[in-house]
Amino acid sequence: MLSYTAKRLIQTIFVLFGISLITFILLQVVPGDPVAMMLEKRADAETIAKVRHELGLDLPIHIQYFNFIKGAIRLDFGTSYFTKEVVSEALFRCFKVTVKLACMSFVFAAAIGIPSGIFSAVKRGKGIDTFVMILSIIGVSAPAFWVAIILQIIFGLKLAVLPISGFDSVASYILPSVALGARYAGNMARITRTSMLEVMGQDYVRTARAKGVRKWSVILKHALKNALIPIVTLVGTDFGYMLTGSMLIEKVFSIPGIGKLAVDAMSNRDLPLLEGTVMYIAFVFVIVNLIVDLSYAFLDPRIRYGKGAA
């Protein structure tokens, strides 16, 4: 297990290196120049050359990449061209906001999605099952920004019980968490139902029922435990997505999280900030996937990692 984890962590370094290279190449290919953005009003050729030199953008591309890697190893991505804020500090500032939104959305999605999925599987074919599945389809297919606006109008403007936007109180996170979590809740409900239905048809579940074990004890102890692998895979990946921010939700609710930071960096071609943000997002996904993979061994004793593993 330990050797497997170490191996995966070493792979992570190569993955991040590859992503950094691809990102860097893409940024050279995609049209867009931060200097052109800065000097849109009265730029003459001399001024453009001067500012490019100041930002180090006139250096050969391989030197620019080498400088970036040199800094990235020390978690120093430089400073933003536009705000002059140190990139790692900007990332941390936004991460603190995003992690709150992600945790609340995750709790909302899991608390609604997983029990609904279980309940739906248990009541398969009944009216309540159909109702839950219709709700889950709505949750999955309704655009997040539309859900957000509806929630703002109802709870923020008409009922005036929750803030319309902002992030300065617990209450202000409720609407964005629901808007962001609705889709994930729908997905979780569907996967949980499917996985549970598959497991509930297994012999050991029928045996447990035949032995007289109570219904909900069978469902939660015997069935759910064995149905967890696909659910954890989905839930883990979803949490990864939540941790990388949601541009739309953050925009609608004026929350300065990672999603907004990434989009702003991209639209300004703020290269240090953009590279830092991409590396953060890549790191989150690699780590979340690693944790999900490792969790399989805990959930299913048949899964073993390391030497001699099947």
Partner: protein, 538 residues
């Protein structure tokens, strides 16, 4: 064992969630971010009961609050209440002294301007304004390059810009309150330039000490409000400056709340959480028909326009460019896409500034004539035209799409290309745009500001240059007589828009905003500058 592990994991998850939520009610810790301004007074974060704080919904500038570096109007919306320039342009275009005892004296040869500063004007850090601060601010503007060319007619500009001199030789200090500025050649709009936000005066020592943090953590000016805090993505807090040279203002402060989404902005206004909000054209029809809001909605016409620029390298024949201009149904665009908030222009130079010719007819839609012109130019089967639009201005995408349909009647096959802001700026500079929809607003109330991009730079994507036009532009800045200037600029515009068809105006817009009716004395001018100095809450 496994049960314990699961229990521990659950506990961790709960603690993490609670910790995450629990901290959220805390105010942003000023020590943890470099993008938070130093607080010189007690911070005010909301319209507390009894205090007079105006709450403004604004778009996040995402940059330092320093117009010398970042030329966005959303930066100036804030800084115009913090820092001041020597002069101010009034609503009628006239100039008034702000930090001066009177209007500067101008030598007979129109080259030397003598200034006298008001005595004992204080910056927000307590320092007294001196001539050296003015010199420093102008030299900083030149060294920072972005808007340096505003001062390109001052003697010594070239040397300072090139780095061969350390000082602006045309700026001579007599004493702490007296100085002169000498120009290389007569330049009529010079005093108007000195009224812009780019030429705001900063205290030399504090600005130098702040370095890159100027406009982020520190910003001092002589204005009626002091910057208390600024956090990108969050907002900016301004508090009253008690030692303001024109007497302390009535408001206790101005609180800018950064809200990106145009719908959310108006919802916050409707909920009574903000007092001022710009109404984006995309949501204008929704809210203008709301009887509760219609009386609180105000409009103004900014000095500038939306136009379509044609790249003369791709379309060198003026007849083709004229055909493109004739294939735009501007009236339909104003009515259907802009919901009647815009008007069909008669000239590129907008009404209200010298050079506007109000005798001209509206630009017409005549696809038949456009077809004839294309045939004369050797394109009897029409042409293909790639129109590039910046997705930052979603209205332009709708206009380009409408034009696509309108131009078919003239045999012009339009392809609409959507790009983001960074790609747009890059493509424009590098000649990658064949035809563009763009906007331009004056920085100062003078036709030179309106036409500058067409003569000195290639930032307007047309790459059009014309010797006669350039000469007229030179004549225009060398002349102080208004009647003569009117003739010169009207002629220059005629060459540009009705002879060479390098660019063709699309529409003149009206901007709308919602303002809490209990607020009086708010001023917004035609160059997008917003002043809360004389405002009060009834």
């Amino acid at each position: 064992m496994r049960r314990k592990l699961a229990g521990a994991a659950f506990l961790c998850a709960v603690v993490l969630s609670l910790a995450a939520c629990g901290n959220s009610s805390e105010k942003q810790d000023s020590s943890d971010s470099s993008a938070t301004a130093e607080s010189t007074t007690e911070s005010t974060t909301s319209a507390a009961e009894g205090s007079k704080i105006v709450r403004v919904a604004a778009v996040d500038p995402q940059v330092a609050l320093d117009p010398q570096q970042y030329t966005y109007s959303i930066v100036m919306k804030i800084t115009d209440n913090i820092s001041e320039s020597l002069l101010m342009t009034m609503g009628d275009g006239s100039l008034e002294p702000v930090l001066l005892t009177g209007m500067p004296e101008i030598s007979e040869d129109q080259l030397t301007y003598s200034f006298e500063l008001l005595p004992d004007v204080k910056f927000h850090n307590g320092e007294v304004l001196k001539s050296s601060d003015v010199k420093y601010s102008y030299e900083r503007l030149i060294k920072l390059a972005k808007m340096a060319t505003l001062l390109e007619n001052v003697a010594g500009y070239d040397e300072l810009a090139a780095g061969t001199a350390d000082e602006l030789s045309g700026f001579q200090i007599q004493d702490d309150t007296h100085f002169t500025i000498t120009l290389k050649k007569p330049y009529a709009p010079f005093l108007s330039v000195l009224s812009t936000a780019y030429t705001a005066i900063y205290p030399e020592a504090a600005c130098e000490e702040a370095g890159d943090t100027w406009g982020m953590q520190t910003l001092y000016g002589t204005g009626p409000f002091m910057l208390s805090s600024y956090q990108t993505g969050v907002g900016a807090e301004l508090v009253r400056f008690e030692d303001y040279h024109d007497g302390a203002v009535k408001l206790d402060g101005v609180s800018y709340k950064f809200i990106e989404d145009v719908n959310t902005q108006v919802l916050e206004y409707q909920a009574g959480n903000v007092d001022y909000v710009d109404v984006d054209p995309s949501v204008y029809p929704i809210y203008s028909s709301n009887p509760e809001l219609s009386e609180e909605m105000h409009g103004f016409q900014p000095t500038g326009n939306y136009s379509m620029n044609v790249n003369v390298k791709t379309y060198p024949d003026a007849r083709v460019r004229e055909a493109i201009a004739l294939s735009i149904d501007r009236a339909a665009i104003c009515e259907s896409i802009l919901h009647g908030t815009a008007t069909v222009p008669t000239s590129y130079i907008p009404a209200g500034i010298i050079g506007h010719d109000d005798t001209l007819p509206e630009f017409e839609y005549n696809p038949e004539r456009a077809k004839e012109l294309l045939a004369e130019a050797g394109y009897p089967d029409g042409i293909d035209l790639r129109v590039t639009v910046n997705t930052k201005y979603q209205g332009n995408v709708a206009i380009a799409t409408a034009f696509q349909e309108q131009a078919k009647a003239a045999g012009i096959n339009v392809e609409v290309e959507q790009v983001d802001s960074a790609a747009w700026s890059d493509m424009k500079l590098n000649g990658g745009v064949d035809c563009a929809i763009s906007n331009w607003y004056v920085d100062y109330s003078d036709p030179e500001s309106m036409l500058y991009p067409m003569t000195k730079t290639d930032t307007n994507s047309s790459f059009w240059h014309n010797e006669e036009f350039d000469q007229l532009m030179e004549d225009g800045i060398a002349t102080t007589d208004s009647a003569e200037r009117q003739e010169i600029y009207a002629k220059a515009e005629h060459i540009m828009t009705r002879e060479d068809w390098a660019t063709t105006p699309l529409y003149n817009e009206t901007k709308f905003y919602l303002l809490n009716p209990s607020i009086t004395g708010f001023e917004i001018d035609s160059t997008f500058r917003m002043f809360w100095k004389n405002a009060d809450i009834q």
